[in-house]
Symmetry: none
Subunit: 429 residues, 2 copies
């Protein structure tokens, strides 16, 4: 079973955009126990498209083609597919109706260029696109099924998950049963984790993979075949024991979603006071529907004036200890919580860089505080040699982890081998 | 002159890492007026490597091969190149000396695994690697020069800039000059833009491309050859005139960065009051270094309680008009501005979905307000049939655009053909 991918588009080939669709698709295949054998990227030249379709369709069984389905003149995939098949393009009346309805519902006239998207190669099977104007389609060419998908990531992802994989599974008898377990860790390096886990003997048919995706390192445990699957629970148990506090979620892809779910189910409320994270802490939670159940406010007090005026942080605290200090973080958290009497509050204040660092408090120095009604936990971490963006992402993850542990009645402050803790404090209120 | 790239390595093919080397190389080529014609990614299987070398070397003039030069057993590029040539690997004594000296200078013994890196295909020309243990090399296979480079980005980049390009320029006569112009639009569909721009006659050698990257559609104007480049300014001028208010930035990839720069240069200050955007408005600005120069605070008043307590929105306003109303948005903006007497304030309140919509205010209904000291502009937009994430992203972009126009002394509220405006109001304060 040979699976290949063909990515089209000058902007991908010319590096105007980094092709994340291909990486995403390869990961999805791996999650299904399948393997991408080759990936080819070509531009928007008709002859290049036709020749690559003709060439690869003689070697692969399934080819996912991505891009070139848009309404504009440089979108040539459908026409190239027709040329490769030696057929004409013909109008798909269903899709034309669909597009016309879409526009009329919105009291708009359908732009002429959308008509182009209703033209598919004769004999092609339409593949629905519930979120975009470009339909997908599939054709049989030589030995291969070519499955054409839009370049817009959200459209590609829906089409692959809802259409490609089901078609694929029905068309080809997927070999053995497989099972994939993902464990999401925080604060430990890929190699450190590998050194620790390599001690555990891996049962036959089980493979261990690592995927760094900041702020996490994701551990993928893949089992192929009944025997491996039955050995999985015991092995995963050993892995989790070894990971200890490094494991932050096994049911969601991020700690943010884990915390969101814990909070939603707990019925508790949360307030946030953000400085260096600048709204990211709040925004990552608001991304999930239902966050309004628990999130009352996030006060992004970026300036000292705001810290005083909005949160009532004492001028003396800022003066004596600075904006990036355990004391300031504590006042930010306790005041933010008190304002609406939330059950919990998180606060962040730090130096995200690239400038603003000092000998004593270099770039990457971040203080994070968690407060409930009775206690405030604060810690200063050093996120050195990381980009401004990564400092903010890591700060959010550590803040979530403190709250997550508190919600599970664990000690909120733990060691991360990959992150230096400068100091910490626990204050009874 | 056909240039191709072959990327090797399971970790690239399987999406464990996103291949940024290829995007970087394609950009370097474009800067030299050259074009990458095809990019192929294969794993670490010997037969795949040999067959792709044999296949592409019959079509391309130059092929940059990236990766597979490391010391470990899955680094097979040199051996595969030898097999493709039908020759043996032989020791490069110069490189062996070089590595031995490198280690002895550091009082280390050279690891056995490094010896493998001294083995090159017979007849291969060594290419120096000043920063790593893997030498590059080039071979002539069929019609093509294959240029082998290490996967480590810093090593690749040095080798391409200091060795590949000079070799390339001496070996081949360089192609024509090229120039790329990018125009970033907001609020208009790709197809609508295409319909409008297709009216303008495109000078010879100039190509027009579209790239939807929410919240924007980016327009790329590519000119190849002196004649096209000299025709570029006039053509771009016509395009910009046609785009009118759709064009939101031509110097940055996003409107967020445009607004960040305008604000930073203006010396003015900004406060934010966010509900449905939930901190995204703030976070996107904080992503840029120097945002602390102007951003004073963002009050993410997610609950009505927070809107009242933190911003002082009147209970009667929320009661009579609801949280998603011109009146509430106006109070949010004017209060947020007044708190620290900022020059400007932006406010957002809406229904991001997927639930919470009503007949009167369906999911996607968002009110955005901009206030300065004298005036408050508010508008209600309908971002229908968009994901929760996209509703928030579009809301931020529209808010930025209102402020951007205000900073340029333009009318803050304009029409977007792709976005329905329900109502709007301008209030003198």
């Amino acid at each position: 079973m040979k699976i290949e991918m063909i990515c089209t588009g000058e902007e991908v080939l010319s590096g105007q955009i980094v092709d994340t669709n291909a990486a995403w698709f390869a990961n999805v295949l791996m999650d299904s126990g399948l393997e991408l054998q080759r990936k080819t990227t070509v531009g928007d030249r008709m002859e290049d498209l036709v020749s690559i379709f003709l060439d690869r369709s003689q070697h692969a069984d399934v080819i996912l083609v991505n891009g070139g389905l848009g309404p504009t003149s440089d979108d040539l995939s459908a026409e190239a597919a027709a040329k490769a098949l030696g057929v004409e393009l013909e109008e798909d009346s269903d899709w034309l109706k669909h597009l016309e309805n879409w526009h009329s519902k919105r009291n708009r006239k359908m732009p002429a260029s959308n008509y182009k998207q209703c033209l598919l190669p004769q004999g092609a099977v339409l593949v629905d696109n519930p979120v975009g104007s470009a339909p997908g389609f599939r054709i049989k060419l030589n030995r291969a099924w070519l499955f054409f998908t839009p370049g817009v990531p959200v459209e590609l992802k829906l089409m692959v998950m809802e259409q490609f994989l089901p078609f694929f599974n029905s068309e080809f008898s997927i070999g053995q049963a497989t099972q994939l377990i993902k464990l999401v860790t925080l604060g430990h390096g890929e190699s450190t984790l590998a050194d620790e886990l390599n001690v555990i003997e891996v049962p036959q048919g089980i493979t261990l993979g690592y995927r760094p995706s900041p702020p996490h390192v994701e551990i993928k445990i893949f089992a192929r075949g009944e025997q491996a699957i039955s050995a999985l629970p015991d092995y995963v148990g050993q892995v989790k024991t070894t990971l200890g506090t490094a494991l932050v979620t096994e049911r969601f892809p991020t700690i943010a979603e884990e915390v969101h779910t814990l909070l939603k189910n707990s019925g508790k409320t949360l307030s946030l006071a953000e400085s260096c994270t600048g709204g990211l802490l709040s925004s990552q939670l608001v991304e999930f529907p239902g966050s309004s159940d628990y999130l009352q406010q996030s006060l992004v007090t970026y300036s000292n004036a705001a810290k005083q005026k909005v949160l009532g942080v004492k001028e003396s605290t800022l003066g004596n200890h600075g904006a990036v200090s355990l004391e300031t973080a504590r006042e930010m958290a306790t005041r933010a919580r008190a304002l609406l009497d939330s059950d919990f509050a998180l606060a962040t204040t730090g130096i995200a860089g690239p400038d603003g660092g000092s000998e004593e408090k270099p770039v990457g120095t971040v203080v994070i505080a968690l407060s409930d009604r009775n206690t405030c936990w604060q810690q200063t971490v050093k996120l050195s040699n990381r980009s401004r963006s990564l400092v903010r992402i890591m700060s959010c993850a550590i803040a979530y982890d403190m709250l997550r542990r508190r919600l599970l009645d664990e000690e909120p402050i733990v060691d991360y081998s990959f992150i230096t803790r400068v100091n910490a404090d626990i204050v009874r209120l």
